[in-house]
Amino acid sequence: MTKKKTEAPAAPEKNQETVLAATGIVKELGRGAGTVMALKGVDLRLVPGELTLLMGPSGSGKTTLLSILGCIMSPTEGELSIAGTNTAKLSPDELAVLRRDHIGFIFQSYNLFPTLSALENVRIALDVRGQKGYEAARRCEEVLREVGLGQRLRNFPGNLSGGEQQRVAVARAIVSSPLIVLADEPTAALDGENGNAVMELLARIAHEQDRSVLAVTHDPRTLPFADRVVRIEDGLIVGEERRPEGLDAPEITDLTKRRKAHA
């Protein structure tokens, strides 16, 4: 991590324009008597160059919030703007365009296409954007090399380890250079070493490529990679910690320990 920091001296506050702004997000899920208020008024802003962790107990609304921030679900109440565009009045297809242009997704269970090779899995993300041909293929190879899979281009997901599959998913999420990368439990299915490799990748994407990365997690091993930790409980943001300028990874870990001790 220390090495990463020195390689990417860009401070989080270097670029402070908001790429994602959510205000007063309320989300009701289910119908009738089974209705659950999964989010009860959430405010969140994301800026480029930061890896933000969204942490909270199971059922606290993390996935729901991520779906809304990713324009996959619409909020019951509240406003969301992505790259300056208000999402309130957009149709499903217009929302798809917004996702296509600005957002990359990483899922807990990778969601790779089992019948496509690693390279093809990444290419399809460009293909849905209308980018085809040799240039697109080269770009995909390059990104797969960046995530350390230069030797696995033709492998199918079934022949890749969990960590490798998640790295293919990371490549797929970033190949179109989105402003925002949203990841739901990206390390939950991985062991420590592979989890760390993926988190390191996400941090690098945030710092070196100046993207906003938001990762949902309840895995404390991911803390050292965070620039900022947002805590959610029962549909409400209950706290936020930021790694102070110049502080290195362990400090934020201590920070959270401190918070736990206080709680």
């Binding site: 991520l66 779906s67 297809d93 798809a96 365009v97 917004l98 296509r100 807990q108 496509l116 849905v128």
Partner: protein, 377 residues
Amino acid sequence: MIFTLAFRNLFHDRVRLTVTLVGILFSIVLVAVQLGLYLGASRMITANIDHADADLWVMPFGAKSFEDGGMLMGSRERHQALATEGVARVTPLVVRFQEWRKPAGGSTRVVVVGTDAEEGAVEPLSLTTGTWEDIKAPDSIAVDSTYLKDLGVDGIGSTAQIGNGRVKVGALTSGIRSFTQSPYVYMPLSRARSLVGAPGSDLATFHLVKVYPDQDIEKVRNNLLSRLEGAEVLTKAEFRQRSLRQWLFRTGAGVALIGGALLGILVGTVIVAQTLYSSTKDHINEFATLRALGSSSGYIHKVILTQAGLSAVIGYLLGMVLALLIVLASQSTPLPIVMTPQLAAGLFTVTVFMCAISAVSAIVKVTKIDPATVFSR
């Protein structure tokens, strides 16, 4: 990538692919056989009409088909027809069901066709052994080589009886089958007249009218109609239609054949729709992921339609191979199946249409995808 994804989805599950292809293959073969039989029967029924060099057919009122002309007409009609403006030629033709007595005993029904081939009437089609000159020899007739066994004769030179008259096989045709299963027996007009009990007369079942090339057929027909009482005047196309209606629809055979073809299309569509739907259901998470990645709904529809199209092409090719083998095998049967380029093209259209219809349920299914499911797996 759309093609790659569709192709891989299709070949990923071999069992389902097999079911899909068997479904399409089954439909194509069924439809090909039914329509091929229909075409074969139609050709058989109209072969004599098609080969006659006539623009108009004069026949007794109510004549049902080529084989069933009804009462013989006298020569009055012929002379009146000849006197009609625009008429170039009138040729009498005798067609009658008669009893054929086999030399070794027993009998069968045949269709006697008496014609003066020189005058442009019906010629015995595709003579393979012997010529028209051989048929003009005393007692001589032409029959089809495929019916020799049914007629109880061995070949050229064999003799038999039609009614009370002696006949001798003088020439052979090949592949002229009869839909009624009563073989055609071709002979000169005068011999036919004596065999049907009107020796030396001018009687005829039909008068074949050839119109001058510069004349309007419809006008000549009206002129003929006003002169000929109690006779009908049909164009070649109308007479074909009437014969087809008589044999294919009055008997129910045509309805059965077309009904079978429709059933084939229906069964094929249901099978393909079912497999395509279940394939889409199996890959629904991938389609949801595509949607989350920001693909348009059109992109996903294209994947499904490509899958349907690929199934159609592969299924069609396999089905055609089998259908052609069946067509080949049917050539020596009483009702050979006919395959034409038009029918082959028609079958392809039907297959594509069938697969496109089948894709509808799958497309409806993906339209309802909630991309939020990508997080809950």
